[in-house]
């Protein structure tokens, strides 16, 4: 992985994904490894994303690296009309690694092509967010002891949610069964179902969020966003249907863990938080170890 950019989850092979998962566990066990001592990481956030940025910057600090950069484009030269290419060219002369968040889709791939140093995509519009996917995989591995042969339930906005799409692509390497629970308007797009068909992976679609979750190993919740609906009445109809409550977890498997990329609004009731099957806050913490693993691997330090 040394010297390789991480733009899309499909840039990493199954072996490379497993190596990141292993390294993340290693960093969780020994977080104080000053591997980035003397290295400069550029953190370029062309749009604000506080959670992702803090997670990366925590990871860099834990590895004893230095951070330069900006937290939104108003404090960068983009406001003066500088092109992305020029910004990346300039920064790649300063830094050993670039972490970039950008509102335009494809910006990360383009940055990786013009940069002299590796680029880690921290989200390019609605396209890709591979470090989120890798931290999801690490969370699944950590709680289940394996990534193989799991029954994964994806709930909520399956149409626009890039996290569920990337997770679906990545988990498809590990012989899963998928269950999709969503309102009709937000169903899993055809192209992903065709992809699963071509791989011979089983999936089931449901519109009701009921006791079918008793089969689940992983319940991955996402937000149903108001702005996704052209008709506000349709939103009102579904907004309270895809809410997970503690009482719904009574007959679920002991190994079930509930994941959510956060931030949540109301789709997981706060009464779930105390349930030992709730895992979304630990999942966020896992993001720091996963990003430590990704940066160390890409810089060839591990």
């Amino acid at each position: 992985m040394k010297g390789k950019s991480l733009v899309s989850i499909s840039d990493f092979s199954k072996d490379e994904i497993m190596e990141i998962v292993r390294l993340a566990g290693d960093f969780e066990a020994n977080p104080g490894q000053p591997l980035l001592n003397g290295k400069v990481v550029a953190s370029l956030f062309f749009e604000p994303s506080t959670r992702t940025r803090l997670s990366f910057e925590t990871a860099i600090n834990r590895l004893a690296g230095s951070v330069v950069g900006f937290t939104d484009s108003s404090s960068s030269s983009t406001t003066k009309g500088e092109s992305l290419k020029d910004t990346i060219k300039m920064v790649s002369n300063y830094a050993d690694l670039i972490v970039m968040r950008h509102p335009l889709e494809g910006s990360a791939r383009y940055a990786s092509e013009v940069s002299d140093v590796p680029v880690i995509n921290a989200g390019d519009g609605a396209n890709q967010h591979p470090t989120q996917t890798l931290l999801d995989l690490y969370s699944i591995y950590k709680t289940q002891g394996t990534l193989e042969n799991l029954n994964i339930f994806l709930v909520g906005d399956l149409k626009y949610g890039r996290t569920v799409h990337s997770l679906l692509m990545a988990m498809s390497l590990f012989n899963p069964i998928f269950n999709f629970i969503s309102p009709e308007e937000l169903k899993m797009p055809e192209e992903y179902k065709m992809f699963l068909d071509s791989k011979g992976i089983r999936y089931f679609e449901h519109s009701e969020f009921t006791d079918i979750i008793s089969e689940a190993d992983i319940l991955y919740m996402t937000r149903v966003q108001r702005e996704r609906f052209s008709d506000p009445i349709e939103y009102e109809k579904v907004k309270n249907v895809y809410v997970l409550r503690n009482s719904m977890l009574d007959n679920t498997k002991d190994n079930l863990r509930i994941l959510h990329p956060l931030p949540r609004v109301n789709e997981i009731h706060t009464d779930v938080d105390e349930n030992p099957k709730a895992y979304y806050f630990e999942q966020a913490e896992n993001g720091v170890y996963t990003r430590m693993a990704i940066m160390a691997a890409i810089l060839g330090l591990k």
């Binding site: 899309s8 092109s83 992305l84 290419k85 950008h102 335009l104 889709e105 494809g106 791939r109 396209n127």
Partner: protein, 151 residues
Amino acid sequence: MSHKKLKVSAIKNGTVIDHIPANHLFKVISILGLDKISNQITFGTNLESHKLNHKAIIKVTDKYFEDNEINKIALIAPTAKLNIIKDYEVIEKKVVDIPDEVVGIVKCFNPKCITNKEDITTRFSVVSKEELALKCHYCEKITSEEHLTII
């Protein structure tokens, strides 16, 4: 009639682009920039064809096309055939093939794609040739035939 009469007269040197779907004739002309060159050009459209219901044909005098120009035609007129003419003789025939990769020809349909904001050569992989579908190398979104815009 005892002899076959050409509906579009022959040229001495140049290129004949035959079997263009008639409804795409003017698009082909525009893509190839034939409306902007000074060469002699004759064309016919809504001609009968065994292969297509209605075909169009273009004859361009003293013009030989580069492969990347031909690729541009392939995207909207995959049935087109090129005859290279020297001294009234067909010296070479070319079929146009939809390439596996389309570089610098098509605009990405996604308004949020970086290629629509910065000066970047677009790149697509062709994911389907039957119902033309191009996947953007950058934003990974699909541009289908109905949304295809030639740069």
